[in-house]
Structures are given as structure tokens and as C-alpha cells.
Amino acid sequence: MDKEKLITPGPSGYMPTPGAFMGVELPPPGKALLYGEIVDEETAMREAAKAMLTRRNPTIFPGPLVLWGWNAGAMEKAKAVLELAMEIPNCRIIPMPDYRPKYPKIDPEAEINPNHPNLTILHNKIEACIFVGVHCHYANLSLRMIRAGTNCFTIALCAEMGHEDAMVSLRDVHAEEIRKFKDVLVQVRKELGIEWEPKLPPENPSLPKEDWTKISPLDFGEYAALLMPRKGEVVEESE
């Protein structure tokens, strides 16, 4: 590559110029973005694979569009994401199940939130990650924040037109394209001489779950009093 790399892992400062303002254009169909430059898909995939294979704590961040089985395509895509995860040595999956704010605070080992992705990335020392199934407006927000405050290499597997602020951005990515990327990754892994038996990442550390069926109203502290009729109290009907 002769051209300067425009979009590289950060930290690039509190409010970095957005990729789009730096002249990065979204790729046409069949092409991809690598460091802000339009390149062949294959080239971009190989670099993305290399990052996930060689950088510390590679992690996949699946968003609502793959986590929730809202249609057959989503479920198939989810399956492909797991197949990909199996091929990345010591890969983790940290989900972004929705976009609501998290107060009083997020559990950075259990999930990632688009409004403060760095909490999860810095806590887990993640230096390479994949965004997949995140709605574009939240992916845009998060990817720029990650470039601003972390040294994480970001890869956007986008079902739409891609993202200027990711180091690698593929477009029109559905189950089939994820599997194609997986094949490229396996190929690169072999070239790099990395040995790996495919296996699924570890489960979410917030599990196993407590048994909610055994919880009593009394566990609800000061509000419990509001829930149960008191001695002599008659709970009236509305009519």
C-alpha cells in the first residue's frame, strides 16, 4: 500500500475526527475498507483475520440483530458467528443485547454497551474485536469511541454499507459472508503456523443464574411492604 493509513487503532484522543470527515468513503458492493482505504474483500479479510489471530484477547461483540432469534436469517447468522468464534484461538463472546443505558453500572465482563464500550474493552484488555449484528447508528457511535480511547483493532461485519471508523469494514455481511471470512481466517491461521482445535468460547461469566422461582417478596426490602396486604387491610377493587 502506498497510501497513508487513515484509520488505525487508537487511542487517537478524546474527540477524533470522524473517518468520514477525513475523506474515508464507504466501499462499493464487493469491496471493503482497510484502514480507511477501499480494497478487495479478500485483502481486508486477511488483515482482519491476522488481527484476530495475533492481537491480545480477541473478542466478538454480537449485537441485537444476531443475539435475538427474531427471524430465520438472524438465527442462521448467529450460527455462523459461533462457527467463526470456534476457529479463533481463545476468542471470547461479549454480547450487546440492547442499547439501553446501564445504571448504576455495567458488568464489563458480561456485556458491552454502545454508550460506553471502552469500559468493557479496557477492563478486558481487548485488542481486537468484531462488531456484528449491531444497528449501524450505534455501531458508528461505538467504533469511533473505541478508536478514540483504546488500542483495539476494530472489525465491522456490517449487513449494510460498512463503517468508516473501523480498521476493517466489510459490507453486505450475512451468514454466508461470515462463513467465507471464517474460511479466510482458517487459511491465515495455517499460514501463520498457529495450531488450534475448534471449540466454542467460554460462556458468559454472569451465568449460572439464580433460581428466581424461589425468591420471596421479602427479598424486595423496603418495597415489600407495598406488595402484600397488611393485617386488616382490604384491597379494594377499582369499581
Binding site: L67, W68, A78, P95, R100, P104, W212
Partner: protein, 293 residues
């Protein structure tokens, strides 16, 4: 929205945070929960940054438990205390500009009817006295004039609590507040009467002391809005900060106001009454049959 949105993609169950797995497994989606069972199921909203002892937070908690179809509901809020909890819930939330909630809800409800002609999608506005009866007054009332089919819930804390304690149109006459040192000069707006005049088909005023009643009112308002037109609930949800109510006396205050100017009031059109009675009769029969099984 819809139950398929709260079904985890196969294989991902073990990668989801516990909160979400619990929501799916022990939550309200696709079920009808009884508000008296609060604590025995995973709630739609749990942690939030509202003040300790906030009665509005309690009301919102009961509100979510009362939703007839949380998986097909969109909640709208605006600037103010309520939205701090509303935006944290596992139900889609839209933030309207201050005063705009009922205009946004009108468009949303109409769009949903066109996009999903065969499904029922509930739209519920929850906003404060300032958003609905002061700055948003025109939009609130006009959504009712137009007979838009959604529910408006006013969580009335009788003050602009978030901005330091200015009086609102809903503050009681004579009350002194941090930023109304001379005392409010005019009467509390009669929101319930206005709602009836403006064309709401179901109207209730409630001081939320009885969770079963709160849940019943919310459910009725949402069910009536589906079929007949706008519905309105005026709920007293004190601001213990601006009105200096000790946390332990928040419930006592709600009971005192209930005896005074927040006496329970419920009004509906005849056709709404008939419709709700029919639904509630069927539900009772079904419950009886299930007990007998």
C-alpha cells in the same frame, strides 16, 4: 418488538448476560403476571438512578408489571425524572423533545397500525406534569381532540423537580417551592376534567397506594386505547426531594393525599365499560377454569 424479539438465537443462550436470560426465562414476556406476584418474576425494570424513596420510581415499577403486552409495547417519555427509569427498562423507549411526547406518540401509533395491520402494538406516554400539562399542553390536548389511540400517563410530582423546584401548572395553589418563593398564585389544573372534555374515552385519577388498583387502571387504560381512543391516567407521584417528604413517610403522604384531593376517580364511556367488563369477565372465567383443572 413481538415475542420473537425476546427469543435468544439458538446457541447464544450461554453467551447472554444473566439479566437477559432471566428476562426471557422468568420475565413477563408472553405471560400475564399479577402485580401481587412482584418479586416472584424477573421485572422489566430493576436498577435505575432515581432518588431513594421516589414514589414515581415505585409507580413505574408497578406500571411495567401491569403491561398487558410488554413485548408489543413502546413507551414514550421526555425530559424529567420518569425517563431515568423508563430508558432503563426492557421495553423499547423513545425520548420525545420536551412537550412533544403526544405528537410523537400520535405518529408512532399511526405508523405501527399501517406497518403491522394485523397486530396490536401499544403506545404509552409516561411524562410529568410539566411535559404534559405545561409545555406540552397543546400537543397533549390535541392528541386527545384527534382521538389518537394511545394511553397518556401523567406522573404528577407537582413540581419541576429536575431543574431545581419551579412551580408547574399542577402545583397546588399557595405552595412554596425552592424556585416559587412567593407561593403558587393559581389553582392546580384539573387535568382529569380536561381529559374528559377533550375526548378521552377512559380517564382515571389515582394516588398509587394500592398496587392492584394501579395495575388494573393501567391495564384498562391500555386495553381501551387499543379499540376506542385516547385514555389518560393522572397519578400522584410525590417528589420527596422538592416537597421534603421523609423517605419513610412517602407512602403515608400518598395515603393522605388520596383522602384529600387525589381520591380515586375512574370514568369511561359506556362502550368502553361494556368492552372492559366483557374482557374481565372472560379472564375471571378462564382463571376459574384453570384453578379447577
Amino acid at each position: 418488538m413481538g415475542l420473537e424479539y425476546v427469543k435468544i438465537s439458538p446457541g447464544f443462550e450461554k453467551y447472554m448476560p444473566r439479566d437477559y436470560v432471566d428476562l426471557v426465562t422468568f420475565g413477563q414476556f408472553g405471560k400475564q403476571v399479577d402485580v401481587m406476584q412482584l418479586g416472584q418474576f424477573k421485572e422489566l425494570v430493576e436498577e435505575h438512578p432515581m432518588c431513594a424513596g421516589c414514589y414515581m420510581a415505585y409507580f413505574i415499577r408497578v406500571f411495567y408489571a401491569a403491561l398487558p403486552n410488554p413485548e408489543d409495547t413502546i413507551v414514550l417519555g421526555t425530559a424529567g425524572c420518569a425517563r431515568l427509569a423508563l430508558s432503563q427498562a426492557a421495553v423499547p423507549f423513545i425520548y420525545g423533545n420536551y412537550g412533544d411526547t403526544n405528537a410523537v406518540a400520535s405518529g408512532l401509533k399511526r405508523a405501527l397500525s399501517i406497518r403491522f395491520p394485523d397486530k396490536v402494538k401499544d403506545v404509552v406516554v409516561i411524562a410529568g406534569d410539566g411535559g404534559l400539562m405545561d409545555i406540552g399542553f397543546g400537543m397533549t390536548m390535541h392528541s386527545w381532540f384527534r382521538r389518537e389511540k394511545f394511553t397518556t400517563i401523567m406522573v404528577d410530582n407537582e413540581v419541576y423537580g429536575n431543574t431545581g423546584g419551579q412551580e408547574s401548572g399542577m402545583s397546588p395553589k399557595g405552595i412554596q417551592l425552592k424556585m416559587a418563593p412567593k407561593g403558587k398564585q393559581f389553582d392546580k389544573i384539573n387535568a382529569v376534567e380536561l381529559a374528559q372534555t377533550a375526548g378521552c374515552v377512559y380517564v382515571a385519577r389515582i394516588s398509587p397506594t394500592n398496587p392492584k388498583r394501579i395495575a388494573k387502571v393501567i391495564r384498562r387504560a391500555i386495553l381501551a386505547a387499543r379499540e376506542f381512543g385516547p385514555t389518560f391516567i393522572h397519578a400522584y407521584t410525590s417528589c420527596n426531594i422538592e416537597y421534603s417528604i421523609p423517605t419513610r413517610e412517602v407512602l403515608a403522604d400518598a395515603r393522605a393525599r388520596e383522602k384529600k384531593d387525589f381520591k380515586f376517580y375512574e370514568w369511561m364511556t359506556d362502550e368502553v365499560k361494556e368492552y372492559l367488563e366483557e374482557i374481565e369477565r372472560k379472564e375471571k372465567e378462564k382463571a376459574k377454569q384453570e384453578v379447577q383443572k
